[in-house]
């Protein structure tokens, strides 16, 4: 197995006796978009800080671009662009000057920096606001400037902490599109953290679900679904009137059906191992039944996420009861 561009092994960080990150192991391949998903306070930002060498891990190994970020943070920071979640700029300076300052901190010669800055500002759609002071930028504009700021050093990896936080849906779409574009055109590896599942789902090659400092599951959306809902991968929701016992029995006897949940007198959830919506529809039509709704429930990350939290909460309450 080839070594990934980001390698994390048994990473642990303990703040005041409470583990913020607990035994995290993760490998991210070059050219991948990896989404780190988790609720607030799960340890996403702490992990990112350790990747950049801004915080020292309590134990564990970290390698970014083959470099140990705890020992050589400067070398890592030369290759990695980071967009913080509480992004801020020098408000009295124009967008261009903010970028040029970052470039000068990276030791990029002035002419080259200017060239890159103009190009990047055009690319992120800030061509009209190049000389506007960043104090007057809107949240969405700042986020785009942030992306340009990250890219000016031509990084191999970019780490985005909540890149879609506080932006309107159209802005989110544009930013995500931009990230995807960068990934495809320049082959930049992207690690992004978020708690907005839909958004991440759209562009991530793989996601990791991160709760209370632990990585619970990892993989692409489909494999996550499989991991989680082994036998009941698909739920078909049916609303019909009347639902006779005969019909239900026949449904139950289908090979693919594992279980039927009764939600009311006229609606049921059929848990199946495969997508057999047409088969079920035909079967129902054989009976004298008014079918008002038949739909397949897709497991998005929301469900995955929710399932984890439901599980966690019930576990917690169980413990309390004991």
């Amino acid at each position: 197995m080839s070594e990934g561009i980001i390698e994390i092994q048994q990473l642990t960080k303990i703040y005041d006796d409470i583990p913020a990150v607990n035994g995290l192991s993760l490998s991210i391949k070059q050219g991948e978009i990896f989404g780190l998903l988790g609720p607030n306070g799960a340890g996403k930002s702490t992990t990112i800080f350790m990747l950049l060498g801004l915080t020292e891990p309590t134990s564990g190994q970290l390698r970014v671009c083959g470099i140990d970020s705890t020992k050589y943070p400067l070398e890592v920071k030369k290759r990695v662009g980071y967009l913080p979640d509480d992004l801020g700029f020098y408000q009295h300076m124009s967008g261009l000057n903010n970028l040029l300052y970052t470039a000068s901190l990276n030791g990029i010669p002035k002419e080259e920096a200017e060239e890159r800055a103009y190009m990047l500002l055009e690319q992120v759609g800030l061509g009209d606001a190049i000389h506007k002071k960043t104090g007057k930028y809107s949240r969405g504009m700042k986020q785009r400037l942030g992306l340009a700021d990250v890219l000016i050093k031509e990084p191999e990896v970019i780490i985005l902490d909540e890149p879609t936080l506080g932006i309107d849906p159209e802005g989110v779409r544009e930013i995500l599109h931009l990230i995807k574009e960068l990934n495809e055109e320049k082959g930049i590896t992207v690690l992004l953290s978020s708690h907005h599942l839909h958004q991440v789902q759209q562009i991530c090659d793989r996601v990791g679900i991160f709760v209370k400092g632990k990585l619970l599951a990892e993989g692409n959306v489909e494999s996550l679904t499989e991991q989680l809902f082994e036998r009941e991968a698909i739920i078909i929701h049916v609303e019909a009137e009347p639902l006779s016992d005969e019909l239900l029995q026949e449904l139950q006897q289908l090979d693919e059906v594992s279980r039927i949940d009764y939600l009311g007198s006229s609606s049921i959830d059929i848990h199946c191992q495969k997508d057999i919506t047409p088969k079920i529809a035909k079967l129902i039509m054989n009976y004298e039944v008014d079918l008002s709704n038949i739909s397949k429930k897709n497991f998005g990350l929301d469900e995955i996420y929710h399932l984890y939290f439901e599980g966690r909460e019930t576990n917690d309450t169980h413990k309390d009861k004991r």
Binding site: G81, L87, T102, L105, G107
Partner: protein, 345 residues
């Protein structure tokens, strides 16, 4: 033979790379200093302070010059005496009572300038969210705090030297007396002392800016310390000395002197006191000692100014004390900043 040559070449290359790296790092450091310096010059806070300091100093210079001119015009003899009595230094210390002297203004406004330069150095970056962005760049962490200090110090040096030389130039133009070399050196040392004094307050400001998350808290703490040392500390010393050095309780001369010394030592804990002591010594060569002395000790001494070397020797402990205080403040700020978590929440 060939091998050694190749080896040499490799070594040479290595050195070159290192030089290149050093050069690059220097240019990065310079970039931060440049940016901070521009920020200072453009901020209204600093512009207002600079204007106030400039105006008050020129005002005090004007009163000093008119006083001296009046005295000179009274007789020709006065002019002769003036030549020998370090008249030029009087420009910085004399006033006619309407406006305080240059020295008083610097003592009063210098700390304010220092605090204004330093109080939001780190915490404003933190609050604006620029610190994380800055730290994600390939720069050593201490560059940030060092560069901020250097930029503020540059402002400080430029202001003080500009003002000092302006006063000298006006003095030469308006009084018409040439400046002697010794006077010039004394003034330069005085200006350096001012810079160290302001640098102390600057570092105190930076220290508070690292410690306190809110800029307002750090500014107020800085001003509180400044008020304490410039106003209340003297009062406290007075209260203590009234009881402690009461002639009724002291029996021998020696005891009296000892007590006087103790009080002096306590006062010297205040940077303002150190500053005023050393500046008066530098600007008034007649000052021969800074502690109490008896009549016996003055018997046989010729009244006359101290040579420059002796004056410097006299203020040496004060000067080193001030520099030490400055360094201690900076060291603590540096240590805290390096150890601090960068994340905001």
């Amino acid at each position: 033979m060939i091998l050694t040559k190749i080896k040499d070449k490799i070594n040479f290359r290595k050195n070159n790379d290192e030089l290149d790296k050093n050069y690059k790092e220097q240019s990065i450091f310079k970039a931060i200093v440049q940016k901070e310096f521009t920020d200072y010059i453009r901020s209204f806070r600093i512009i207002i302070l600079l204007v106030i300091i400039g105006l008050t100093c020129l005002g005090s210079l004007y009163t000093a010059i008119t006083t001296i001119q009046d005295a000179l015009e009274q007789s020709d003899e006065a002019k002769e005496i003036a030549k020998d009595s370090y008249l030029f230094l009087k420009l910085f210390t004399t006033s006619d009572g309407t406006l305080p002297s240059f020295l008083t203004f610097v003592t009063l406004l210098g700390p304010l300038l220092g605090i204004a330069l330093g109080f939001d150095a780190i915490n404003s970056e933190r609050n604006k969210g620029t610190l994380t962005r800055l730290m994600a760049q390939p720069i050593p962490r201490d560059y940030v705090i060092n560069a901020k200090f250097v930029a503020a110090l540059l402002i400080n040096v430029m202001l003080i030297f500009a003002l000092g030389f302006l006063v000298m130039a006006f003095g030469i133009l308006l009084i018409g007396l040439p400046i002697t070399l010794e006077e010039f050196i004394r003034i330069v040392f005085f200006l350096l002392l001012c810079i160290v004094y302001i640098a102390f307050w600057l570092n105190l400001g930076i220290l508070f800016s690292v410690r306190f998350k809110q800029a307002a808290t750090s500014a107020l703490s800085g001003i509180a310390v400044w008020l304490f040392f410039s106003v209340f500390y003297n009062m406290i010393i007075n209260v203590i000395s009234k009881n402690y050095v009461n002639p009724e309780n002291t029996t021998t001369m020696e005891e009296f002197l000892n007590k006087q010394e103790t009080i002096l030592t306590i006062s010297r804990l205040s940077p303002s006191y150190l500053f005023s002591e050393s500046t008066t010594t530098l600007l008034s060569p007649e000052v021969r000692t800074l502690g109490p002395y008896t009549m016996e000790q003055t018997v046989g001494a010729l009244a006359g100014p101290l040579p420059l070397g002796q004056s410097l020797l006299l203020v040496w402990p004060q000067l080193t004390g001030l520099i030490a205080a400055t360094l201690i403040c900076f060291a603590i700020a540096y240590y805290w900043f390096i150890r601090q978590e960068i994340r905001t929440n």
